[in-house]
């Protein structure tokens, strides 16, 4: 009984926290006969997914209702079995996987995103170069001034101001924060043993902005500010972004090509039985942008409903072939072709569970 009240409370608050979706998270699918599949999860890929779903509905008549309530909500709802698929910006942990009520959950990467380091230096033009360890120190509050010797060493000849660095980070739990902190933990032992990696970080310094728009807004407003935002936000808002030193030592500005290159660098080394819960931060390759990540769709390997399973697999086939071609236009990096081919083969491992199972 307490568990039931708890889940009722959750559904209630979820419904309240996403006023733009109609009805409760599970209401839409069961109420209207015209929706064939329901999904919930990550907000970051939502612009692309919603275009995919509408194009796919026009083409095949299969309607998909997706609610961008956040990765955490997507994982919870898939685990409870109230949606047909989930979506997340950070891979599920072993603990989360073990709690899923419908058995094994498979991760399917769909597209890639990059996290750009945006800054506001009014009298500085040209390229700002940063390295992972220096970014970690800035976000830990140990590098405090823009003309710090460590920053100056990366930018020889640049006229950096002596003003304070103001750190702006996300205040809401976010896949963007996960990718960024995953990168810092990979390149800085001090970060790994300090703030660590996660969607919510106990930030040692700085201001919190809600959402990419909140961080972008504060970076734009406050001279001397530095923050991290999704690449699409930085390009659309014309924010100045730093070039980051990758594992080969090259300074790479964030771009769709550099992100796909990062994924390609990792794909080549993947074992055949990978579960695709892989991090591609600090990826090898001279052209790789180091702060990149996949975003995933989550599916049960054992599908209870054969009709839905067929539709899901057919949709993923379409998404991994036709859908990928639309990604770049919306500022998402498409998967490397070799990886998309491997994922298409992996779709065959989805099974229909025996009746009653």
């Amino acid at each position: 009984m307490p568990a039931r009240i708890l889940s009722l409370a959750l559904v209630f608050t979820l419904a309240c926290s996403s006023p733009d979706t109609d009805g409760g998270p599970q209401g839409a699918g069961s109420r209207s006969g015209s929706v064939d599949l329901t999904g919930a999860g990550a907000t970051f890929p939502y612009p692309l997914y919603s275009k995919w779903f509408s194009d796919y509905a026009n083409k095949t008549g299969v309607r998909i209702n997706y609610q961008s309530i956040g990765s955490g909500g997507g994982i919870r709802q898939l685990s409870e079995g109230t949606v047909d698929f989930g979506a997340t910006d950070g891979p599920m942990t072993d603990e989360e996987l073990s709690k899923a009520k419908g058995g094994a959950i498979m991760h399917f990467p769909t597209v890639l995103g990059a996290v750009a380091i945006a800054y506001n230096l009014p009298n500085f033009s040209g390229e700002l170069r940063l390295s992972g360890p220096v970014i970690a120190q800035i976000f830990m509050g140990t590098v405090k001034k823009w003309n710090d010797p460590q920053i100056a060493a990366l930018n020889p000849g640049a006229a950096l101001p002596g003003s304070d660095i103001l750190v702006v980070h996300r205040s809401d739990g976010s896949g963007t924060t996960y990718v960024f902190s995953d990168y810092l933990a990979a390149v800085s032992p001090a970060w790994a043993s300090g703030p660590g990696r996660g969607k919510d970080i106990a930030w040692p310094t700085g201001l919190g902005g809600k959402g990419n728009e909140g961080v972008a807004g504060q970076v734009k407003q406050i001279p001397g500010a530095i923050g991290y935002v999704e690449l699409a936000y930085a390009t659309q808002n014309n924010l100045a972004v730093a070039s980051i030193q990758n594992s080969s030592g090259a300074f790479v500005a964030p771009s769709i090509e550099a992100v796909t290159a990062a994924a390609a660098g990792v794909t080549a080394e993947l074992p055949p039985n990978t579960d695709y819960r892989i991090s591609i931060v600090n990826s090898p390759g001279a052209g790789s942008y180091p702060i990149s990540s996949f975003t995933w769709l989550l599916l049960y390997q054992q599908q209870a409903d054969s009709v839905k399973a067929g539709k899901l697999v057919a949709f993923l086939r379409w998404a991994l072939t036709e859908g990928e071609k639309q990604a770049a236009a919306l500022d998402y990096a498409p998967l490397p072709a070799a990886m998309a081919d491997r994922l298409l083969l992996r779709l065959d491992s989805i099974r229909i569970a025996p009746a009653g199972g």
Partner: protein, 329 residues
Amino acid sequence: MADASAPAGASGGLGSRRRASILAGVARGDRIYQVAITAFALIIPALLVLIAIAIGIAAWPAFAAAGLSFITSSEWNVQAGKFGAAPAIYGTIVSSLIALVLATPLAVGVAIFLSEIAPKWLRQPVAFLVDLLAAIPSVVYGLWGIFFLVPMLRDHVVPFFRDTLHLGNTPLFSGPAYGPSMLAAGVILAIMALPYISAVTREVLLAVPRSQRDAALALGATKWEMIWHAVIPYARSGIIGGVILGLGRALGETMAVTMVIGNRPEISASLLAPGYTMASLIANEFTEATSDLHLSALMAVGAVLFAITLVVNGIARWLVWRVASEPRA
């Protein structure tokens, strides 16, 4: 219920048996009405109790894990599973108090102007515009805060306090001023709470009997003395009620505050330092909270906010009751 006599009176010419049966019908209708209306009235408190129970059950694991440190500790570290909500509790209370300090004199002043001083043709338009402040969506206040209020405070108001009034060395105005701050949140909340306080106060002042004013004027009071000594004391309990309504608005406001307060879980004496509120904390972290303890901790923050709101409303009731039971001036 008193209406029951009306149809009976109208059918005075009918036979007594028929009249009795009509009366019986009326009585049955009354009973049905009474039961229905009682049920409706009980649904609301029942809902409140159910919400409290549901939040309490969901919050229990976090309270059990953190104990008293949940409300005394400042460490909110999701990775380490440590949840201390003190900065958010502090921020909620302080930002709401700043809002009340700024909004109350302004709102009461507007209400006095509109009910006592303004010429008739000006009353309706100004009252309408003040009420309209309550109709602006809070996310719009937030955007206005980010793009206008925060830069304005940083570039003009803070230098005024620090350099012109030389308050830079006092704890209230110390530290770097980036813009997003407790002060910005308090100012936004003041603007949002103002229409509630002023609307209630205006209605209460208009309800003060004419004779109260005439008596004061007849004793030789000036207009100001009449307002201060005869009208306001008469309306005290209503004004306090309006202020508490505004406080309730400020305590629970989420979106606009989240956008301007800086979301930093730290307790600082400086008004210029960023802070955090309970409502912002829940709104920020709920969507991506996956671990059970994290979810429970957010529910626990909700429970604390709920409790504070109840206490504030309790204090308000008591104040209104105490003021109302005093002899009026």
